[in-house]
């Protein structure tokens, strides 16, 4: 990977330019040329005990306001760029939120927007992506490219459904999912570390293999005997007392299945371990400069092996979130590209667990938005809404929204010598 020296010294004006253009598009298409009619943002669910009033605003007025707010943020970014400073990440996050609000308002002209429902579903949909991305981050931070997230998610989804059905116990299902996905990760780790195979190829091949195995077993076994082996149902929804009564935040965050709570907890944990502990420092050293790490006595191969393996078990949990945490049964190739989205999310989040999770929410949001947009205003080409996160990822990797730099030794096998 070649980076010219100029780009490292100068921040450049790419961020303000991109933000300004998106702001202009929002102002014109969602605002000035937008749709008339009032939009009601429902903060409370209709079933909540505490009812807050809805926020009503004209759809095109909202578009104009959002466009102007986006201009303001672009201006802030410009002022930073002039001083040769990077645009802070919170600016991008606020920018994204404003854009999303404008889009929701545009879609739901003359209708209402159930915020809690949309945000809650987006979170549930994002959980497998978040956990898959954690596997990606843990593996890429130590220098092993993980294209096999898709396969790890699928393995977890399959095992969780089958083992939960057979044992009638979700705990066993989750454990089986985590262990088996860790085994898949071990293949990636061993092939990359011991056999020095091309990591990207091993990853792609593992996906092919897992898809092959699960498809075969699904066809040969799960469809024949679905009642006994593929009928796990979903885990119970846990309501955390007091906290789940908070308007908006309560139903979104504190009234969920255990997989969602686990995801909410694991993300800061991985962040803490990675950036605040000696363990994480060593892992990052292995990913950035394995020779230096080796010189100071860190076992490069072993570090890589365990980080990739444990990452795999977390992806396995993400797979479990697909079946016993959402759908209630295993379906053929049900991970449907979530693993590749997780890969994008890793990069979009700059190999940082917290930013990656926010990016995963963007994808989760785009999935629910497509479903919901079809209901609230049919005829809108939702294909473009689905496309947005992928386009954003490309914009991010080509370096328009701050350079995302991978760990230096990524995909480079380390040979002691």
């Amino acid at each position: 990977m070649t980076t010219s020296k100029e780009t490292e010294v100068k921040v450049g004006y790419k961020s303000p330019i991109v933000m300004g253009s998106i702001g202009l598009l929002t102002l014109v298409f969602l605002g000035l040329l937008g749709r008339d009619g009032m939009v009601a943002f429902e903060i409370s669910r209709r079933t909540d005990s505490l009812q807050l009033p809805t926020l009503d605003i004209d759809s095109s007025l909202l578009g104009v306001l959002a466009g102007l707010a986006m201009f303001a943020l672009a201006g802030f970014s410009l002022s930073k760029a002039i001083k040769n400073l990077k645009t802070p990440i919170w600016v991008s996050i606020v920018f994204g939120l404003v854009g999303v609000t404008a889009l929701l308002g545009w879609l739901a002209a003359e209708k209402s927007v159930p915020i809690a429902f949309i945000a809650g579903t987006a979170l549930v949909l994002a959980v497998p992506i978040i956990l898959g991305a954690m596997a990606g981050i843990m593996s890429e931070r130590v220098g092993i490219t993980n294209i096999a997230i898709e396969g790890q998610l699928l393995t977890g989804a399959f095992m969780a459904a089958v083992v939960s059905s057979i044992t009638d116990n979700f705990l066993f299902g989750v454990m089986a999912a985590m262990v088996t996905s860790a085994l898949v990760s071990m293949i990636l780790a061993v092939f990359s570390i011991k056999f020095l195979a091309q990591q990207i190829i091993v990853g792609v091949v593992l996906n092919v293999l897992v898809i092959g195995v699960t498809n075969f077993l699904y066809q040969q076994w799960l469809t024949e005997d679905a009642e006994n082996v593929n009928f796990p149902g979903t885990m119970d929804i846990i309501k955390i007392p007091v906290l789940s009564d908070i308007p908006l935040l309560g139903p979104v965050f504190f009234e969920n299945r255990i997989t969602v709570f686990f995801a909410i907890l694991i993300v800061p944990t991985i962040w803490f371990v990675l950036f605040k502990t000696r363990l994480g420092l060593r892992a990052r050293a292995v990913g950035e400069h394995p020779l230096a790490a080796d010189t100071v006595g860190i076992n490069v191969g072993r570090t890589r092996f365990w980080w990739v393996t444990i990452g795999g078990s977390i992806a396995g949990l993400g797979g479990a979130a697909l079946t016993i945490g959402n759908a209630g049964a295993f379906g053929r190739e049900m991970s449907g590209g979530f693993g590749f989205i997780a890969l994008a999310v890793v990069i979009l989040g700059r190999w940082n667990p917290i930013y990656a999770s926010l990016a995963a929410l963007l994808f989760g949001f785009s999935i629910i938005l497509r479903v919901w947009a079809n209901q609230v205003s049919p005829g809108i080409p939702t294909d473009f809404i689905t496309m947005v996160p992928y386009v954003v990822t490309i914009i991010a990797v080509v370096g328009f929204v701050g350079k995302s730099r991978p760990p230096k030794a990524l995909a480079v096998p380390y040979v002691k010598g």
Binding site: T145, F195, A197, Q198, V208, I211, G212, T386, Y390, V398
Partner: protein, 411 residues
């Protein structure tokens, strides 16, 4: 006299070279892949599982059941993909082979594209997206333009190649310009292309079938644009095979004989050395991605112009991903990819007849995955079978020279 002695000395070295070479490893990987598939077939077979209960009393039962299921499964694969001895006439018996050729053709063409990037040290995971872009262009020409017979088909084919190549070149441009990794770019492009294609097929003004129904689907290609049948109307085999074979020849010439190919291989071997030698590495990346996607475009035209029913969002048939396994198995060489494409084409052709025997054809996905997994790690196979390490001598080459060069290869 001295000539013979020399030959004697080189023989063990020759054997070592043969066993360390890719061919032996490839054959072993394929056999192991079929073995893994067989184990899955046996393990999921009801008679076998029942016979396990009394395996120590009557082990022959278990073995018999195991043999029967593997025999049934792979036998059905052979009958469905190569030659069906049960058919009444020879014409019908040979039909499976023509299906293998028909289904293998796009895999070969796309496999060449992916293999080309491997040779340049790039990973093109975006076969699907490029295939879809090629289909968009080819379908547009085939359904929205009116041209005379043959010319229409040729224009549509070229449009498919150009459409795919444009997307490939765009990815190459982004990589060359910004240093972004092509794996991420191509994966994202797969999704963008798919949703874009779906969008086009939802709008009658764009690509949707004129008798619009709700589902995204394009018009059938005009009859003048369809790839002509190769063996008459009894077989579905069409000119797609000829174009795939032509692509193999072009690929071989391009990579092994042309200056461009030399440059591509040089960048793949060592980009820094290539740069020092005055090669514009960035431009080479763009060129490589465009050429790669161009080959995928041949497969795209094959999909868009091969059948008289209109394309749908799933018409890419996962060829873009399968092509990766084809390129890996074929060792990124023209002849290798030809054979690998035919093998995986046979898997696709034979799948339905396995279903008839109660063996889920999905097992072939396992075989395919296992084969390339073994291919991906040469040291693993070498360790398992105690094969010698890659040899840097050229004893084999000297024999080849002696046989194939006039004058016994004396310098």
């Amino acid at each position: 006299m001295s000539e013979i002695n020399k030959a004697d000395n080189t023989m063990p070295q020759v054997m070592r070279e043969i066993f360390s070479g890719g061919l032996v490893r490839t054959v072993i990987s394929i056999l192991l892949g079929f073995l893994v598939g067989a184990l899955f077939m046996i393990g999921s077979n009801k008679e076998f599982i029942e016979s396990l209960g009394y395996i120590f009393a009557r082990p022959a039962d278990a073995l018999g059941a195991a043999f029967a299921v593997v025999n049934d499964g792979y036998g059905a694969l052979f009958r469905g993909a190569i030659y069906n001895a049960d058919a009444e006439t020879f014409e019908k018996a040979i039909r499976p082979l023509t299906e293998t050729l028909r289904l293998g053709a796009p895999l070969i063409a796309a496999g060449l594209g992916i293999g080309l990037t491997f040779r340049v040290g790039l990973f093109n995971i975006g076969g699907t997206g490029q295939l879809i872009f090629g289909m968009i262009f080819a379908t547009f020409v085939a359904t929205r333009l009116e041209l005379p017979f043959v010319l229409h088909m040729v224009v549509a084919l070229i449009a498919g190649i150009v459409g795919a190549a444009l997307l490939g070149a765009f990815v190459g441009f982004l990589k060359a310009r910004t240093g972004a990794h092509e794996v991420i770019l191509t994966i994202m492009m797969n999704y963008i292309a798919l949703y874009f294609f779906t969008f086009l097929m939802r709008d009658p003004a764009l690509l949707q079938e004129t008798r619009a129904s709700g589902n995204p689907k394009a018009d059938a290609a005009a009859e003048t644009a369809l790839l002509p049948k190769l063996l008459g109307d009894n077989y579905s085999l069409h000119w797609g095979l000829i174009f795939a074979l032509l692509a193999v020849v072009v690929f071989w010439w391009l990579m092994e004989r042309s200056t461009i190919g030399y440059r591509l291989r040089m960048v793949g071997f060592n980009p820094d050395a290539a740069r020092a030698a005055g090669i514009n590495v960035e431009k080479t990346y763009i060129l490589a991605m465009a050429l790669s996607a161009g080959f995928v475009g041949v497969a795209a035209a094959n999909q868009a112009l091969g059948t008289a029913i209109g394309v749908t969002p799933s018409s890419h048939a996962n060829i873009g991903f399968d092509a990766i396994t084809v390129a890996l198995l074929g060792g990124s060489s023209g002849p290798g990819i030809l054979l690998a494409g035919l093998l995986f084409g046979a898997f696709k052709a034979g799948a339905p007849s396995m279903q008839v025997f109660g063996v889920s054809p999905e097992v072939l996905g396992i075989v395919q995955g296992a084969i390339v997994l073994f291919i991906a790690a040469p040291p693993l196979i070498r360790a398992l079978f105690r094969l010698p390490k890659p040899q840097t001598t050229n004893a084999l080459e000297s024999i080849r020279k002696r046989i194939f060069t006039r004058g016994g290869g004396s310098k």
